[in-house]
């Protein structure tokens, strides 16, 4: 038999000024099953809480209704008090007499009557509450970082330095990402490789980090603290333990004319190759698509020249299975290739290049050793045009959003050019200069004021080649849209940043959401920018949206802290207010009929399929099962379930039904 205790709070005079608390307590006291109904000036004060604790023991209460302020304010307080008084905290409910009654109504009988109704409703609800135990989930203290660019490197190092194990997965043969391709970085113009390479080496040597390059995520199962990740280690055709990285094979490979990805196609590489001199790990892989042996069945020169006999032509891909507690997605971005703009002639004219190609031209380690030479004839361009927003803010042909980083890197490109070609002329066509960031606007101003980069506000209409020059036609919108025609030697397009190839596929494997541009979606745009909707999976860097290095690194450190906080506990404790699918004995097992419509509505992929099997493995029935580790208790599945087979702890069908009946009926 239920024994309910009701505690009506005056909240000083906040409630009692308009509500007759005495009458409320008295009326409620007459209700069936209410064994105690009392009032007090400040229920949340120490004496108030003590009152509850003692009453629980004294009256052997099975449920408590604190009629005071909003549960959003003090529900944790009173549930804790109940627990201390020996009552399961989930047997305590609050009736909101302050925010929803005394503060919003005038003092009169109706207000007191409403207060009584509110309390009565909670009394009816609490009778149906059940004692719940917090959910405990064990945590595997190994993190996985997907992507070995600067964001991934930062996240991995930060997590590893808190003493936890990290597995890093990188799909290309070396870590380093786009940052390793950059020449200098804004707004300081320090050499990208110089600041990145030590970090790359640190990753390789860190005792807590296991690095898998040339590897991709195959599948992800499980939930926060308990993921099982299968990783495909693509065959490098090499025994990494034997290889010393001497590079002899790469010099002897007869196939030398493969466009070099690292150089953005501005240079060539052999079929067995180390992507760049500072690569980590510094070991070659065989690109089977282009290797003569795999194409024609003979060659094997690398095998012959290898001093340690490390080449393995018949090496298969390997799938490894890892137990992971948290995942950081740091898969970066790609640039939208500029050939969707036929009016700009990218691909038709050799001297029209994109921003990443310019980085390679400007890089001391690049194909021209840092001398700005145009691709067509190796001449140093005397007149160069940079076009911002080449694809960004262009819903018609490109992408609708602002890629954020282009304004800054374009200013950097123009500046680098001016520093290298003093007598050259640099023009930048721009729409708006978006240079918010520490020392960013100053950097752009320097390009304009000190380096005399000619900034022209307007979008280029078309580019064509004539007389060995690239004719760039635009207008100056700040001069009444006066036509501007520049005879350029080279044009650099600041192409848009887009989601990396395979982002959608990976998001589906991780069960995280992504936006219409296929960038990964954060759990909340302001307050949870690092989390995803799937507990235990975090974001770092440009996989979320185009970002510069400082932002990527900050977010990476943010996600590392999230992982470290998760790993600081041996078990996760979660509120037990989760959904549950009913279960019963055979032959029914559950009233769930296994339509799995609930699976589609669940925002957290918390609904799994459970097969009821006979002893010999025959599936008798499939039904939905809630993963308590993932369920956040929204109840969307509960309202959808036609057979009412799912219910929600804390807001059960019985409880909410009782509330409706209680609220509307007079006793």
């Amino acid at each position: 038999m239920a024994r309910i205790g009701v505690f009506v709070c005056h909240c000083g005079e906040n409630i009692s000024a308009t509500v007759d608390c005495g009458k409320v307590a008295e009326t409620i006291g007459k209700l069936k099953h209410v064994v105690l109904s009392t009032e007090y000036k400040y229920m949340c004060s120490d004496p108030g809480q003590t009152l509850i604790k003692e009453a629980i023991k004294e009256h052997n209460l099975t449920g408590v209704v604190v009629s005071a302020c909003s549960p959003r304010m003090h529900e944790p307080t009173f549930r804790k008090a109940c627990a201390e008084g020996g009552l399961n905290p989930y047997l305590c409910e609050m009736a909101n007499l302050r925010e929803h009654c005394s503060w919003v109504h005038e003092k009169n009988e109706l207000t007191t009557e409403k207060a009584i109704d509110i309390v009565r409703t909670q009394v009816e609800k609490v009778k149906l509450n059940s004692a719940l135990q917090p959910i405990k989930v064990p945590v595997t203290k190994t993190a996985m970082v997907i992507g070995g660019g600067i964001a991934g490197i930062q996240a991995a190092l930060d997590i590893a330095n808190t003493g936890h194990k990290v597995v890093m997965i990188e799909r290309s043969p070396s870590i380093g990402g786009h940052m390793s391709q950059l020449s200098e970085t804004f707004p300081t113009l320090d050499c990208s490789q110089c600041i990145l390479t030590p970090r790359m080496v640190e990753v390789a040597q860190h005792p807590n980090i296991t690095l898998y390059t040339y590897a991709e995520v195959e599948s992800v199962e499980g939930f926060i603290g308990n993921f099982t990740v299968k990783v495909r280690k693509k065959a490098k055709s090499l025994d990494e333990k034997l290889c010393t990285g001497c590079g002899l094979c790469t010099t002897k490979c007869p196939q030398k004319k493969i466009p070099n990805e690292f150089e953005q196609g501005m240079g060539m590489r052999p079929a067995i190759y180390i992507p760049f001199p500072q690569a980590v790990p510094n070991r070659p892989v065989i690109d089977r698509e282009h290797c003569t042996y795999y194409i024609k069945g003979k060659c094997k020169i690398c095998e012959i020249v290898c001093p340690t006999k490390a080449i393995r032509f018949d090496q298969p891909d390997e799938i490894i299975e890892l137990q992971i507690g948290a995942i950081v997605a740091a898969t970066g971005f790609d640039i939208k290739h500029a050939d969707f703009f036929p009016e700009y002639g990218y691909g038709r004219y050799k001297d029209i290049i994109d921003g990443l190609q310019f980085e390679r031209l400007a890089s001391a380690s690049g194909p021209t050793s840092g001398v700005i030479k145009r691709p067509s004839d190796g001449q140093i361009p005397k007149n160069i045009v940079f076009i911002a927003c080449a694809g960004s803010r262009d819903p018609a042909k490109g992408i609708a959003y602002c890629s954020k980083i282009c304004c800054m890197y374009t200013a950097k490109h123009a500046m680098l050019y001016k520093h290298k070609v003093h007598e050259g002329k640099a023009h930048v066509f721009y729409m708006d200069i978006r240079s918010g960031g520490k020392n960013y606007d100053e950097f752009v101003r320097r390009a304009i004021e000190e380096d005399h980069v000619n900034y022209i506000r307007g979008r280029v209409s078309t580019i064509y080649e004539r007389n060995g020059k690239l004719i760039v036609k635009g207008v100056d919108t700040l001069l009444s849209s006066m036509p501007v025609e520049i005879e350029a030697d080279m044009v650099v397009l600041a192409t848009a940043g887009v989601a990396n190839s395979g982002a959608e596929e990976l998001a589906q494997k991780l069960h995280i959401s992504y936006d219409s541009h296929k960038f990964f979606a954060e759990a909340h745009p302001k307050l949870k920018p690092v989390e995803t909707n799937t507990a235990g999976i975090f974001l770092a860097g440009a996989c979320q949206n185009p970002k510069d290095i400082p932002d990527s690194v900050s977010q990476a450190s943010g996600s590392a802290v999230k992982v470290a906080a998760l790993f600081s506990q041996n078990e996760l404790t979660r509120e037990p207010l989760v959904a549950v699918v009913n279960r019963m004995g055979p032959p029914l097992h559950s009233t769930c009929v296994g339509c799995f419509l609930c699976q589609a509505v669940c925002p957290y992929q918390a609904i799994e399929r459970e097969d009821i099997k006979t002893r010999d493995g025959k599936v008798l029935k499939s039904l939905a099962k809630i993963n308590e580790g993932l369920c956040q208790g929204c109840g969307t599945c509960v309202a959808l379930c036609r057979s009412k087979s799912i219910d929600l702890h804390g807001y059960s069908n019985n409880q909410v039904y009782a509330e409706v009946v209680a609220l509307l009926n007079e006793y």
Partner: protein, 150 residues
């Protein structure tokens, strides 16, 4: 009909409208005391059957309210709720059950003033419409029949 005071029940989500109604209180904005709130974690949890139960138990009006689209604490509960409301409303309209007695709204945690407006507007409207006789009659007829049968 002038002294008729409607009974209005509000089904709201915890994260936006419930919090918005809290803000109405903290801001000391006044509204009609006819409305009583039932808290749900999310609009996605609100079963359409509860609306019928409210009418059957004597409600003259109902408010259903949650987070604005894209603001759902659970990201998509309100989107699902919206589709259900669309379907429910169409069905009720088709059956002649008066959906003017139900207010659907988005009230965020910051919209304390909007909550007061939604409540007052709803109460005024329902007061003009009078008690929900036809649904009450359905139930009363039932009770009469039961009495007769017994």
């Amino acid at each position: 009909m002038s002294d008729f005071e409607p009974k209005v029940v509000a089904f709201v989500c915890n994260w936006c409208t419930y919090a918005g109604a809290d803000l109405t209180g903290t801001s000391r904005l006044k509204y009609a005391s006819n409305v009583k709130i039932i808290r749900f974690p999310c609009t996605g949890r609100i079963d359409f059957m509860l609306l019928l139960k409210a009418f059957a138990n004597g409600a003259d009006g109902i408010i259903v309210s949650g987070c604005h689209p894209n603001d759902c604490h659970y990201t998509s509960g309100n989107f699902h709720a919206k589709r259900r409301w669309i379907m429910f409303k169409e069905l009720m309209d088709f059956m002649g059950i008066d959906m003017n007695r139900v207010t659907f709204s988005w009230v965020s945690a910051a919209e304390g003033a909007k909550w007061a407006e939604v409540v007052n507007e709803t109460v005024t409207r329902i007061r003009e419409m009078g008690p929900y006789v036809s649904y009450k009659e359905l139930v009363n007829k039932t009770i009469e029949e039961e009495v007769k049968n017994e």
